[in-house]
């Protein structure tokens, strides 16, 4: 299965509520047959620009990164679900880039 990454920005909330939203999201993923590999919390910080979502203007948010494997067919449905969630400000799913061993970048030829 291909590997994806979900960059999740949640509304600035209290800790138990944030935990509940994360739990809800991961459960949604697992229901659709995804295998969650890693979950990172990048902390709560000021958003780079004000975002409007669900008729609310957000200036602070909590960042999460979810690494998972899933079938490509479920992504559409998953994103739809995340957009409808009131506590989620910006969900983005990207394909995980494979880190290839870089072979001598900028190798200039001798004159």
């Amino acid at each position: 299965m291909p590997r994806y990454e979900l960059a999740l920005i949640l509304k600035a909330m209290q800790r138990p509520e944030t935990a509940a939203v994360v739990r809800r999201t991961v459960e949604t993923l697992m229901e659709r047959g995804a295998v969650v590999r890693n979950l990172e919390n990048l902390g709560e910080r000021m958003l780079p620009y004000k975002m409007t979502k669900h008729n609310q203007r957000h200036s602070r948010g909590t960042y999460f990164l979810v690494d998972f494997y899933c079938a490509p067919s479920i992504l559409d449905d998953l994103l739809n679900h995340l957009h409808r969630d009131v506590d989620v400000v910006r969900p983005t799913v990207m394909k995980k880039e494979e880190q290839e061993p870089q072979s001598s970048c900028c190798a200039k030829t001798e004159l």
Binding site: I9, P48, C106, E110
Partner: protein
């Protein structure tokens, strides 16, 4: 040992091996002296020559051989040669962005190679759309970072 044919009379100061007959010794000395003079004028080309002259080491030739070709430029890479570019690393990405407008600097300013410039550009645009990095400005805490780009600001 090469035999030159002509006998040259030159002042002799070297130590002579005692086992050889006198005539041979003189010829050897002459040969050696001439070869030394030869070596002083031009670099030895054939390996046989080198093995003979290395016995009496001339510091000039040795230094030249060690340095190699001085007109050859050393291989330089760009600043991000062995650095992985990630959209999460906004501090790195902010170094290639204008502090006044937040615009991405071109290749002639950043000095990056083709591949890295493309990677940086893509990562910055990704970070913009994901909501990781500001679009029209730069985070104030990154303003004091070391300047990689060769652009002069009127501060």
């Amino acid at each position: 040992m090469r035999s030159l044919g002509t006998t040259v009379t030159l002042p002799v100061f070297t130590v002579v091996p005692e086992l050889l007959p006198v005539r041979c010794q003189v010829k050897m000395l002459c040969v050696r002296k001439l070869q030394r003079l030869k070596a002083a004028f031009y670099l030895p080309r054939s390996t046989t020559h080198r093995s003979l002259t290395s016995a009496e080491v001339l510091p000039k030739d040795d230094a030249l051989l060690k340095v190699g070709n001085p007109s050859r430029e050393s291989k330089k890479g760009c600043v991000l040669c062995n650095v992985t570019v990630d959209f999460k690393n906004i501090q790195l990405l902010s170094q290639f962005v204008s502090p006044h407008t937040g615009r991405i600097y071109g290749r002639h300013i950043t000095g990056l190679c083709g591949r890295k410039q493309k990677e940086i550009s893509k990562a910055i645009k990704k970070a913009h759309s994901l909501g990781f990095m500001p679009v029209t400005h730069k985070y104030p805490e990154f303003m004091k970072d070391p300047r990689i780009c060769s652009i002069k600001h009127l501060d």
